[in-house]
């Protein structure tokens, strides 16, 4: 029979413990996992990118439902433990008892709340878990005053995250400089200066006296009388081990739950790990020792001998643009020496603390590339007297090596630590690479290197490159173009999170490196902005590619092609006459029927466009948007009205959809096909959205392609109701508008997002479907209009002709 293992707390430490157990002895335990938070294990180190909007919760989940199901873990998320009955070995939640053979307490830590008046006012939050993070996001901090109490790691990440969301942030710190446990005053000053450059106010030596407010928080009062207005106060002064349940069960508890070297508490069947434990009078807050504990406890639970020995760990701050590295002891003392390097202009500072020719502390700010090298020398107690002259310049200057970042990595010994969070050394990564892990994802999966906080990703890639030589191609920069390191997805999220409403605002706030962007990012930004702020953002014509700017397709000789819309491919003699007249009047060299069931007039001169459009408008013809990243055509067959096989009015449905969707801008072009029966004369099953009508109704499929790639559509939904079919298709188009990367056709986007997810959004979740349709309609209230009519207006026409004709003046 399996042993019953009950785990209280689904944090990163217990999650790692379960991974070890399932890996070594998959069938040994029957696991019940309690968690007070209503969710499983996620990467808590990544809450700050969630707060700043650079990542979403889904991206930081470590163990999803499938993982728990695959390992048959009985998940009790959202259930708090109220009691441990040690004599009968049962734990009780408010839903009842669960017996255990072995119990693991991994309750983590709770934020410390400073005991001042007003601490319970609405608007005072802590920063510890997703609830706190969401509370800050939902508070809608843009433009508001936020005060962070505490200038340590967590406090600064909270401050930077809220500043990224547009808050006016003040950090109040009790000590003389920021992060005093990790930084010396000089590095603390550089950090403060960088934060102030980002508009964050820093108040050091500030003791909070009271939080003021009537209904909710209004301001923070300091001992020196300073008052900072505050719509939100985040307390991040520290954490304390969450030990209540252990104390109630009369386990030995000092500051934390006391454990021995094998991670056992004072009860031989109860174990503990993580931020809630105290080992050898020491508490733990960084992730690396917690992962070591998980490794040790896994062995203990499996009956193996194992001893936990904490190692020193290094700290990095996860605030974009503030690079700092700190490890060891850097307090001044008589028997210690310093080597210091300063470059104030570039904001660089490095300090190495030596004792007996060995490094005992490292503080770096600005350029932290050599941090791991110094850290390795420190851990190994290397005698540095030989290289002391050039030590501060890092490994590149030792032994006459060339100034090559790769050389520094190549020079690292196999036992040099690369990933601090997971304790992965260079040798392990090299072994994995030689064993066939040739991509970053594979190395991550096999060694866990760079899978937690991610700051070592570049280093891991360098190790891979040093191992594979030219066989390894470094991941291309994630940036959407060479003007920025932000990916398309980041930019979209930040536009929303930071409330950016113009292209210059995006370029300014997100640190574009070019003046005015480039031909690649400008059209993308224009699209993202108009999709996010349909009513507020004004389309920037000059950021559009020529075809969209001129509402016609440019040809190789500089002339244009003009395609009037034919709704559902249906036309009239009067329309055909108007088209024929226009073709003759403007000497159109070619008239061609297109694949999208309409007529193309090719070879029109630019200056003739407005007048030609005016003529076509007069006959009721509008732009066919044959040039746009938007709705192109809705191809139909004749359907039930004439065809003896037709089951529904496919032509009518096509016209209805085209009249609904036309004019909308999308990440790339969108083409629809509506066939009246499964014979599929409208070729609907290779379109972005296809409908096949059947006797029982409408089969909607999406994500087809018939261009550079050929791909059949995939079934999205079936419905008996034409209205519902229209609603689902509209919601699908809006979901595509909101989520796809610019220039990804729907089939590419669906492949990335997953058809199941798309279905859940637009088919199953009725409320969400309705909301998507509503948002589409809001956007269409602006864009469902004929651009030709706008540009054909008499006072607009001059803009399409040359500014001046000097050939005439010359002749005079």
């Amino acid at each position: 029979m399996k042993e019953k293992l009950v785990v209280i707390g689904a944090g990163m430490a217990s999650g790692r413990l379960l991974e070890h157990l399932f890996e070594i002895a998959p069938d040994r335990f029957e696991v019940t996992l309690f968690n007070a938070e209503p969710r499983g294990n996620y990467n808590r180190l990544m809450l700050s990118p969630v707060l700043s909007g650079e990542k979403t919760y889904e991206q930081i989940v470590t163990h999803d439902d499938d993982w728990y199901a695959a390992h048959a873990v009985d998940c009790r998320f959202g259930e708090s433990i109220v009691k441990i009955d040690r004599s009968n070995r049962i734990v009780f939640s408010n839903h009842g008892g669960v017996p255990y053979n072995k119990l693991v307490i991994a309750t983590g830590s709770a934020p410390f709340i400073i005991p001042v008046a007003g601490k319970e006012l609405p608007g005072v939050v802590t920063y510890r878990d997703l609830e706190d993070t969401n509370a800050m996001i939902e508070a809608g901090v843009a433009g508001q005053n936020a005060v962070v109490i505490g200038g340590g790691l967590l406090g600064l990440e909270a401050a930077a995250g809220m500043a990224a969301r547009g808050a006016k942030v003040t950090v109040i710190h009790l000590m003389g400089h920021l992060m005093e446990r990790q930084l010396d005053p000089s590095a603390g000053y550089l950090l403060q200066r960088d934060l102030e450059k980002r508009g964050i106010t820093v108040h050091c030596k500030g003791a909070t006296k009271a939080i003021l407010g009537k209904e909710r928080v209004e301001a923070v009062l300091l001992d020196d009388g300073t008052i900072y207005p505050a719509d939100l106060v985040c307390m991040a002064v520290g954490i304390r081990p969450e030990t209540r349940i252990a104390t109630d069960a009369r386990l030995e508890v000092n500051r934390g739950i006391v454990v021995d070297d094998a991670m056992r508490t004072s009860d031989p069947n109860i174990f503990s790990l993580g931020e809630c434990v105290e080992h050898d009078s020491q508490l733990f807050g960084l992730v690396a020792p917690l992962y070591d504990q998980a490794k040790i406890l896994a062995k203990t639970l499996l009956g193996e001998e194992a001893v936990f020995r904490p190692v020193q760990t290094a700290t990095k701050l996860k605030v974009t643009g503030c690079d700092l590295f700190s490890a060891g002891d850097f307090a001044d003392a008589p028997d210690r020496e310093d080597i210091v390097f300063r470059d104030p202009g570039r904001g660089q500072y490095k300090r190495i603390v030596l004792k007996d020719d060995r490094i005992i502390g490292v503080v770096m700010y600005g350029d932290t590339a050599d941090g791991n090298w110094f850290y390795g020398l420190m851990k190994d107690q290397t005698d540095v007297s030989e290289m002391r002259d050039t030590l501060i310049f890092g490994p590149a200057f030792q032994g006459g090596q060339k100034l090559d970042p790769m050389a520094a990595v190549a020079a690292l010994p196999p036992e040099a630590e690369i990933c601090g969070c997971n304790g992965v050394c260079k040798g392990k990564i090299v072994d994995a690479v030689l064993g066939g892990a040739t991509t970053l994802d594979l190395v991550r999966a096999q060694t866990k290197a760079s899978s937690s906080c991610g700051t070592c990703t570049g280093l891991v890639e360098q190790v891979m490159k040093a191992t594979l030589g030219d066989g390894f191609v470094m991941a291309k920069p994630q940036g959407m173009c060479k003007c920025t390191d932000h990916s398309h997805e980041d930019v979209r999220r930040l536009i929303k999170a930071m409330g950016l409403k113009s292209i210059p605002a995006v370029q300014q706030e997100l640190g574009w490196t070019s003046v005015g962007g480039c031909y690649s990012c400008r059209p993308a930004l224009n699209y993202y902005l108009l999709a996010e702020w349909p009513l507020e953002y004004k389309d920037d014509r000059q950021s559009r590619f020529v075809n969209e700017r001129n509402h016609a397709n440019i040809q190789k000789d500089g002339t244009y092609s003009v395609v009037p819309r034919m709704w559902g491919g249906v036309t009239t003699p009067a329309e055909l006459r108007a088209i024929a007249d226009a073709a003759e009047k403007y000497n159109v060299p070619m008239v061609k029927v297109t694949g999208g069931q309409r007529i193309d007039l090719l070879g029109v001169r630019k200056e003739d466009l407005p007048q030609m459009w005016a003529d076509l408008n007069e006959a009721g013809l509008v732009s066919g948007h044959a040039y746009s990243k938007g709705l192109r055509t809705v191809k139909t067959c004749v359907g039930a009205q004439f065809c003896r096989f037709g089951t529904q009015d496919s032509t009518g449905l096509g016209i209805r959809l085209e009249k609904l969707l036309w004019g909308s801008w999308t990440p790339h072009k969108v083409k629809l096909g509506i066939s009246g029966c499964p014979r599929n004369c409208a070729e609907a099953t290779c379109k972005d959205v296809g409908v096949i009508c059947v006797d029982s109704g409408y089969q909607i499929s999406v994500a087809g392609a018939a261009g550079m790639e050929l791909k059949e559509t995939e079934h999205l939904a079936s419905t008996a109701s034409e209205d519902e079919a229209v609603e689902i298709i509209t919601a699908f188009v809006q979901l595509y508008r909101e989520h796809a990367r610019y220039l990804d056709r729907p089939y590419k986007w669906v492949a990335k997002a997953g058809l199941d997810w798309v279905k859940a959004q637009v088919v199953d979740d009725l409320e969400n479907r309705k909301a998507l349709v509503e948002r589409f309609e809001i956007s269409q209230s602006v864009y469902r209009t004929d651009p030709w009519a706008e540009h054909a207006a008499p006072d607009e026409r001059a803009k399409w002709a040359p500014l001046a004709d000097l050939t005439l003046e010359a002749a005079e």
Partner: protein
């Protein structure tokens, strides 16, 4: 000294856009940057003859609409891996009016 001829109002050229002036030497594209500088370039990409006046203007660069060649409007030189040169002409803004090198108009008269 360069002689200039008034070809129109600055406001007739869209910001980060261009207008074309027909000359005896062919079409010349008059660009206006976001900080209201003016550049005059031959409206013809040396690659496949694309109309540069229809390109996206970013900073003091313009990208050809046909195949994304990028040109520095100061020198007329193609950027990056592409090699090529576009003729540039003297142009300036004074009191909201745009002036272009009058030689473009004179050559025919002199001939």
């Amino acid at each position: 000294m360069t002689l200039f001829i008034d070809i129109g109002a600055l406001e007739d050229i869209p910001v980060q856009g261009a207008r074309v002036v027909k000359t005896v030497e062919g079409c010349v594209a008059i660009f206006r940057t976001s900080d209201d500088r003016i550049f005059a370039l031959e409206d013809r990409c040396p690659h496949k003859g694309g109309p540069l006046s229809e390109g996206i203007v970013h900073g003091d660069r313009v990208t050809c609409p046909l195949h994304n060649w990028v040109f520095d409007m100061n020198s007329g030189e193609a950027q990056g891996a592409d090699k090529g040169m576009v003729r540039t002409f003297a142009a300036k803004v004074e009191a909201g009016r745009v002036f272009l090198d009058a030689a473009l108009l004179k050559r025919r008269s002199a001939a």
